[in-house]
Assembly symmetry: C3
Homo-oligomer: 445 residues x 3
């Protein structure tokens, strides 16, 4: 089941969203969420600066107007308007003239990646700094005269942190979470790819009729955003069955899968099945309490199992957290392939029903229902005038055999080696034929 | 523990039973069961045609007198009296003259196995047809003049399906099932080998004194016979602990083992242990809901774990379901080797007792009971004047160590790596010495 | 955490203890335990001969004054005072003149190890014999004249079996057992190495302040001593959580690990972790009910899981149970390495606390507690002015993530791959920072 989304639609949003300066707070985040409202009816929520959320506090809103380093002749060597990675995130205001040697400790540069501007932040410690390429660093170093250094920023104690939320109610109370983070500035894989994958995944679900389960999509700043959301939705979040952290899934490399902290939860099994059904062997990343917001959702108080499907996972690609993580590296076509995987996983989680046979004593007679070859004895049933092919017959017999109310479709898929989508389709035919019923259906009666 | 049966005794029954035409119903089945009564006191039970059994109905009895295809000069090209596979099973009567092109769709032939007459049935769809070799097909094809086609069959709505049953009561209510199918016409591995293995296995049990467990042997047509039996014995069958479907165990190939649906049930463990104790590595066939009557016994309403020991398992040999599955392929000697395996499994299941030590605090003093070497210090106890050799001493210490009422002999065998029969014998010595008692014995006190 | 003991201290005790004749009973055992009192405050307990202990009886005390075989000219060929292995343990008195052919059945010699005097006993069957080298055997064989054979021994029915016990009470009732056997005469690896390892292990514990758990060290004759101790301490022994049988741990070979009967008990896991933390891959010996006193402690009535760390384990080295198991084979340096492993295991078992996060909802903010790098974005946090390095940060995040009262430090170590000692230290810092508390601490509140 592929997404309804075209690669070029993704590409258009990539181009629109890439230049916007995002952070923990600020108008860049507001703009980003407003643009996402063109895709899905996202509700935008503001948490005021200063609000305590568990062990944390919503930070003051960071507003940055400009930032530069001018050489002695007044020309800008470093210019925030050219790349918003130049200013260390949450830099406090500074405006002074200083010689290079005094400035040097505030400059971040990558010896190993000289073309790249690194991405750095100083969220929780009032400080300032610039991120530059090695060439820029060397140019600055060449001036013995003082340099004019300016970061025109301010902190608004009456500001807020904004987050986006979309709840899709399903037929049942069983609820899954899809979370992605919106705090990174101009980097394409980390995490525009995740933002757009989550948005289009939500749109696919909305376009597909009422899902069986409920789905909650949230777009939050990493760490503090997730913690703030948990704080404001504690009771509901404790009822979440599991979920997905959508991140870094637009690179050129092979697909990956970071396991949930449980390692073999329903979430993990659904992802493994989805990969298997597409004959893809993902890079497997065992759970570790680093990474992204699974750290918060899976913390002892919540223990929501969260996994991620990635493509060039954070930490794992050379452009990570630099200006080279750009639109040359990430494309709509690449994101679409990750989106297809996510869609399969959502389908498995959403449609993973338990069935009960209505004829549990011995097998039902398939022949009289035109579900079995009429001539017996041959192994492969070749030439049988029947509407059931061999793969379907396998799926029928496995499904009937395990239709005891204790095996969901995913378990049947794992046990039989058959594709989830094949079993899902055959389950529909058997329900029509009156041979099985889904357990919730039976319970309703 | 080898069977009491000689290979040439099996051979004699093979020759007698092979030519008899068997099907779901009919006198061929009656004759077969009557001949088996020469081996064991089988009770023959008739289920009347038309009886509903769960989702199925006992079919009308199929009676076939003759079947042939005559060439234009009146000679028979195809003659049922030469091989009962020529008529598709349950063919309805036909008697007409027709040209080859009209006949062709009713002819079953194997391109890939030109010497073989295939085996086909049309049990639940009124139809007719012939099974022929490729050479016969080509001969029929060569006649442009019409051919006389006749199947002299009838369906008796007052008929019955016959099955055979032998219940061997044991000392306890724990009951195992041995089932085999009797519906296949002249094919030696599928399933005369299974029929005779089951019959001689039952005779071995009867000759061996009262077993500890109860054993139920049934000889039924495949699928409908098993379902009918389940229907008529529903309550008792729900109490069956597990069992064996005896099928295709007389070929020339290596021994195989189809696992129960649980994969590691007592039944599976007993079979693995039996193979290990004879140092045989069987071909392992994981459970799938195809195959034979395990489909019925293990269905959701019963869930009896059933496994099979095979030798050239159905589906797996080139002669399968053809006239080449004959007495050149199957011999009494080959069947006897499968029978020995089945006997070992039956012994393990039947004698798998739990023991409790009477001296559970520390080890008992074996020396004063002449169960231990009197000179200490040597590793191998060589030269010790004691009636206990090193293998037995191992068995004694393992058995005493695990004699806690929670480990049966099979578990002790698996844990220690010692043969079941060695532990069985040592358990007897320890019971005599008063060092252990079987848990049921203790419970009686 | 290495032992406080120096190799040369161990060497001094090895030299002092090696020549002493030990057995099930006798003054050699009393002397041995008295010397051990120089290391630890061992309590010496006597069980009178004739006392019934479960299925056994404390044997009469065996007193041996002398033993020899004189050649016709009156010179001693075999002399007990040269090596106490010459007399079969528990030999009854004998004093007669006999020709070689009559003596031969009483001589124990190793064809395969001609330089060695074997070690043999006849504890529970009144008999006598000599153990000799092959050369000595051949010399005796060369005399056609009668030989004078004398074992000047006696059995004291008013004697006793002595054992040593040291109980180290901890902060909690959870109790572990360390047992070693003191019944073997002059053999260095089996079991002087075990005796000294256990003694110095106890001293390390005593020197280290009150342990969290209680620890019970016992020094007993093998089998009968362990059984007698169990008999006299039945109730307390049923409460023991697990333990260590300290044996044959002073050879030159690689370290080994005999698993407990459970195979993956806390005891086994602690040992595996200790080896892993020192990057040592031990030889692994799966449990079997042979070996040493685990047979008694783990018997059905007690089921205390007991494991051993060995170095040239009994059965496994060519000098085993011979006079070649001497102080050329065993050194204090070698024993010290085993002692270090045992100490690590004791530390893990003793300090294996469960922790609960005080901020279980999401992560706590480490930055404000100076436990996190202040500049975000870099993977390796290089150059961060923080007192936390990368390995510690890993340990902090794993520990906080699993601080749910259900994971002890050992489980966190196993899950994270981090060393136990690193987690132990970090746990201390987090307790100080108020971020976690040990569960028992919380329960006290």
């Amino acid at each position: 089941m592929n997404t309804n989304t075209h690669a070029n639609e993704i590409d258009a949003f990539l181009r629109q969203l890439f230049p916007i300066p995002r952070s923990l707070t600020g108008d860049g985040n507001r703009d980003t969420l407003r643009i996402l409202q063109e895709i899905i009816p996202l509700e935008i929520i503001e948490y005021p600066s200063g609000t305590p959320v568990y062990d944390w506090t919503i930070p003051d809103e960071w507003i940055i107007h400009d930032a530069y380093i001018k050489k002695p002749n007044g020309e800008r060597v470093i210019d925030y308007s050219e790349c918003n990675l130049h200013a260390v995130g949450y830099s406090m205001p500074i405006n002074k003239t200083m010689v290079f040697d005094d400035l040097a400790p505030r400059l971040h540069m990558l010896e190993s990646n000289p073309e790249a501007i690194p991405y750095r932040t100083t969220y929780y410690s009032r400080d300032w700094g610039f991120c530059v390429t090695k060439k820029q660093y060397e140019e600055l170093e060449s001036f013995s005269d003082p340099l004019e250094v300016c970061i025109d920023s301010e902190f608004d104690t009456n500001g807020a942190m904004v987050i986006g939320e979309l709840q899709i109610p399903g037929e049942t109370d069983k609820e899954f979470l899809v979370s992605t983070y919106v705090c990174h500035p101009s980097m394409a894989n980390d995490n525009l790819s995740g933002i757009l994958t989550a948005a289009f995944l939500a749109r696919d679900l909305l376009q597909n009729g009422t899902p069986r389960c409920s789905w909650r999509f949230i777009f939050v700043p990493e760490t503090i955003g997730a913690i703030a959301y948990l704080y404001h939705n504690e009771t509901e979040m404790k009822g979440i069955r599991g979920g997905l952290v959508v991140t870094t899934c637009g690179g050129r490399g092979p697909l990956g899968f970071k396991e949930s902290y449980l390692g073999n939860d329903l979430i993990d099994r659904a992802i493994r099945q989805a990969f298997k059904d597409r004959s893809i062997e993902p890079i497997c990343y065992p759970f570790a309490p680093d990474g992204s917001d699974e750290r918060q959702y899976s913390s002892p108080g919540f223990r929501i199992p969260m996994a991620s499907i990635t493509r060039d996972k954070y930490y794992e690609y050379s452009q990570y957290h630099t200006s080279l993580d750009n639109l040359e590296f990430v494309t709509g076509k690449q994101i679409k392939e990750s989106l297809n995987m996510y869609r399969d996983v959502v389908n498995i989680l959403d449609q993973n029903l338990f069935y009960c046979s209505t004829t549990p004593y011995g097998e039902p007679q398939l022949g009289k229902r035109n579900l079995y070859p009429s001539t017996g004895g041959a192994i492969n049933q070749q030439g049988a005038a029947v509407s059931t092919n061999h793969g379907e017959l396998d799926a029928i017999t496995w499904l009937l055999f395990l239709a005891d109310g204790e095996h969901d479709l995913l378990a049947i898929s794992e046990r039989s080696g058959l594709r989830f989508s094949v079993l899902q389709q055959v389950a529909g035919r058997l329900v029509e034929a009156g041979l099985v019923e889904s357990v919730s259906a039976r319970l309703t009666v």
